[in-house]
Amino acid sequence: MPLLDTDNISSNESEGAFNEFIEDQLENLVDSILTEGDLTSVGDRGSEVIVEIDDIVAPTFTYGDESEGGGAAGAGPGRDGGKIRFNVPFEFLMERIARSLRLPHLRKQGRGKIKEVTHEFKTFAPVGTVLDKKRTFKRALKTSIGMRVYRPEEGRHEVHIHRRDRRYKVPERVEKPKFKAVVFYMGDISFSTYGERLKLEKRLVGFIQHWIDFNYGAKNVEHRFFVHDADAHEVQEEDFYRVGNAGGTLAAPVYHLVQQVATNEYDPNTTNFYAFYFGDGELFDEDAKEIVELLEGQMRPIFNRIGIVEVQPGRLSLLNRQVATQFHRDSIIRLGELNDRLEAIEVIKTLFSER
């Protein structure tokens, strides 16, 4: 009987075509995320991100209302009111964002390298607690053949296991490089940080958190938040956007505090430091000079990256100007200006691109 002219029935090519289509849709999604500049709505850092894209349904003449969707909801491809839901690994999405923005991965080599110690069963010894049955049997078989106990040609299939044949799995100390990072966020609460200004700052901070978590792994990153008016304080993340004060402004104390925390609480040889400052940049001349000195003398040598972002700066803003005189096109210290949502991508590129 003639067989059909095919050995295997498969939809691989069509599945591939569909997956390519979905990849294109995800690229569009990334573009829209970047336009919006808000990653917090996508999902939690380090987890799988559930993304929704418009379902592809062939329209036809059918009964029903416009609002009607179809099918049951569920993770993975399925229909939920005209949407297809996918679980996308956070890394997958960040990779695409990085590719879209042409951002290089952060350098983790050099200073800040520490070892992560684990134990793996890699070697074997005559004593121990976890018996390796396979190796033990192999050795016992060899011994039994040598001692002529195991002689299949004579119908004898005995295998004697002696104490010396036993082999145990032994844990071995394994050191792997581990990278740890601490990110300091500094915010000026002495000016009116609310409304559009607060939204812009929040989005940028959100992206920085995602980006550094993506580069180091969420578990290896510590995010610490500091605010200042005339004095500097450390606050919880949620308070970073809430506190406000109408008093005077001195920004140097917050840089000083961050530098103190970095050197006193962490080992600069094993930690990657990042610091980002957000404010309107309206400081006293002396204050700005002090910051430049701090940056040059104490922070730049131990920090991987320091970003100073003036959010909707005014006519009197001078911080970036002052810093630029000393650190123009610097590889560590980056200066940005954020006036509206659409500038967020440019600021991100300024903060994280190679130079």
Binding site: N8, S14, I56, A58
Partner: protein, 540 residues
């Protein structure tokens, strides 16, 4: 994928099943059995029970979704069998089935193959699967010729119009469209009065006719002009619409302006989806017939001990034939029981003029007359002449509806559906039974619309070459936001303006412009009447 001949046990079972089928004198095409693994099975289903298909994202999407549902436990990967009828027929078995299940599947396939051979709608063509594989190759070539972007665009447009395939409709191509070359006759399952053709065969004397019938000269002139117009249209376009055409995709396949690549795609998609209409119209009879022969052949196999596990078989059989309410009808259950009932009626001679004319109820109750032929011959005659609509209309009685539990609902379900207490005729702790009388009517209504809007082509030259569709109103509105994209897709295939009349709205799509216009509502009967008079069915 492997042939059952590579497995001695399955080859033996195939031989026994075919032996018994032949002993029962079944009319069968050549049948080829193959064994597939679960993924192949899923893929086969997505390809419309053909082993190959052109690359398309729709199949990919459904496949990804199906795999996900199977992994999430929302869908079982166990498919017992699928068959593509034709000559030869190809039946596919799941490799996870036990030998006993494989035998039952083969026996089931015997029923399907015979039904497709015999039925009035005849769903069996020579080398159907091979032909589809040939069309797939043509579409793959078309894909290279068209380029990926236009190929996808055209396929998507076609996908949108697939529900508009209706080869067995009362208004199919053969009945609705005159062509210069005769269209292959398509059977329908609906009676339509034929135009009287006897006049062409009778001796004619136009002079005598004119004297005897005294025809109005205006009318004669009109008729003459209509005839000329028809001939001119046929000669110019190659076709002329003489009645509404419900097989819209079929019409586009034959008459839309297409390149060779586009035609290949339309041919493939139409041929691949063509059989759905047959399934819709014959599912109860077809599945019932397959279950009937499955059981008969399996009992023979158990008797000769070719297979074992009769208890397991009984368990699976009763699961497949589990009764469900009429709107979620189980064709296996209804068809199987109805065929058994009909067999009994025939064996007792109850389907006869004498029985129907008998007025004495006690005589009717004790009626037992030997029929002229074996009941199975009458049953085969039924298959040759009717489809589900007539099958149910003739044989499904309110008593049977009650007996088969077609009117039975779970209490919870009855509450959810807010069934009126007046309609409940019986209840127990678990179930309620509805009045069976209206159930039959509702079941038959399904065959007029199949729960889909009825849309027809009524004019192919509307407002300078536009294609005019008509939605036959049955009290429900079309989903409005899908009208525009569907018309857009239709426009891509027709390559000219397209229109849709639905209730008192005229929707149009032309030159990337969508318009809605209020018009006077038109009834379908009026459209028919005008088309019969060779008038424009719809005027602005």
């Amino acid at each position: 994928m492997r042939s059952v001949h590579q497995d001695p046990e399955l080859a033996f079972l195939e031989e026994r099943v075919l032996h018994h089928a032949n002993t029962f004198r079944r009319t069968l095409p050549e049948m080829r059995f193959f064994v597939l693994d679960s993924t192949e099975f899923m893929s086969l289903l997505e390809k419309g029970v053909y082993p190959t298909s052109p690359v398309n994202i729709w199949e990919g999407k459904r496949m990804v979704g199906r795999k996900h549902r199977v992994e999430a436990g929302q869908e079982s990967a166990i498919y017992y069998e699928v068959v593509q009828t034709g000559n030869p027929s190809y039946a596919y078995l799941n490799h996870t089935n036990s030998p006993m299940m494989q035998a039952s599947v083969m026996a089931h396939v015997v029923g399907h193959c015979e039904f497709s051979e015999l039925n009035v709608l005849r769903d069996s063509t020579r080398d159907r699967t091979e032909f589809i594989m040939h069309l797939v190759k043509k579409v793959e070539l078309a894909r290279q010729q068209m380029g990926e972007v236009y190929y996808s665009q055209y396929w998507n447009a076609c996908e949108s119009l697939l529900p508009l395939i209706a080869p067995h409709s009362q208004y199919n191509l053969a009945r609705s469209v005159d062509t210069e070359s005769p269209v292959l006759k398509q059977e329908t399952d609906t009676y339509v009065s034929e135009e009287r053709s006897s006049a062409a065969l009778m001796p004619v004397s136009s002079t005598m006719d004119a004297l005897l019938h005294q025809q109005d000269p205006d009318q004669a002139w009109q008729k003459e002009m209509q005839s000329k117009l028809r001939q001119e249209t046929l000669s110019r376009k190659g076709y002329k619409l003489r009645a509404p055409c419900q097989d819209i995709f079929g019409f586009l396949r034959n008459h839309a302006p297409t390149s060779r690549s586009e035609k290949s795609m339309l041919d493939y998609l139409y041929t691949r989806h063509f059989t759905h209409d047959f399934i819709l119209r014959t599912q109860v009879m077809n599945e019932g017939w397959a279950m009937y022969w499955e059981k008969k052949i399996m009992l023979e196999l158990f008797k000769e001990k070719a297979v074992s596990g009769i208890i397991d078989y009984a368990r699976v059989f009763s699961g497949v034939c589990y009764p469900r309410p009429y709107f979620a009808r189980n064709p296996y259950h209804l068809g199987f029981n109805l065929w058994n009932h009909i067999e009994q009626l025939y064996s007792e001679g109850k389907i006869s003029l004498e029985y129907f004319e008998e007025t004495d109820q006690s005589a009717k109750d004790n009626w037992k007359r030997t029929p002229g032929k074996e009941p199975i011959h009458y049953m085969a005659d039924l298959i040759r002449t009717v489809t589900d609509y007539e099958f149910l209309r003739r044989f499904l009685t309110p008593e049977l509806i009650h007996e088969f539990h077609l009117n039975r609902f779970h209490r919870m379900e009855a509450q959810r559906l807010r069934l009126s207490p007046d309609s409940i005729v019986k209840e127990d702790r678990q179930y309620v039974w509805l009045d069976p009388e209206p159930v039959k009517e509702e079941m038959l209504n399904f065959f007029t619309h199949f729960h889909r809007p009825r849309v027809y082509i009524i004019d192919t030259d509307f407002q300078d070459g536009g294609l005019l569709l008509f939605h036959r109103d049955d009290g429900r509105r079309l989903r409005k936001d899908w009208i525009k994209p569907t018309l857009k897709n239709l426009n891509l295939l027709w390559k000219g303006p397209v229109y849709l009349v639905s209730r008192n709205w005229l929707y149009s799509f032309s030159a990337n412009l969508f318009k809605e216009t209020v018009v006077t509502e038109l009834r379908f009967e009026k459209v028919l009447e005008r088309m019969q008079r060779y008038e424009k069915p719809f005027k602005m």
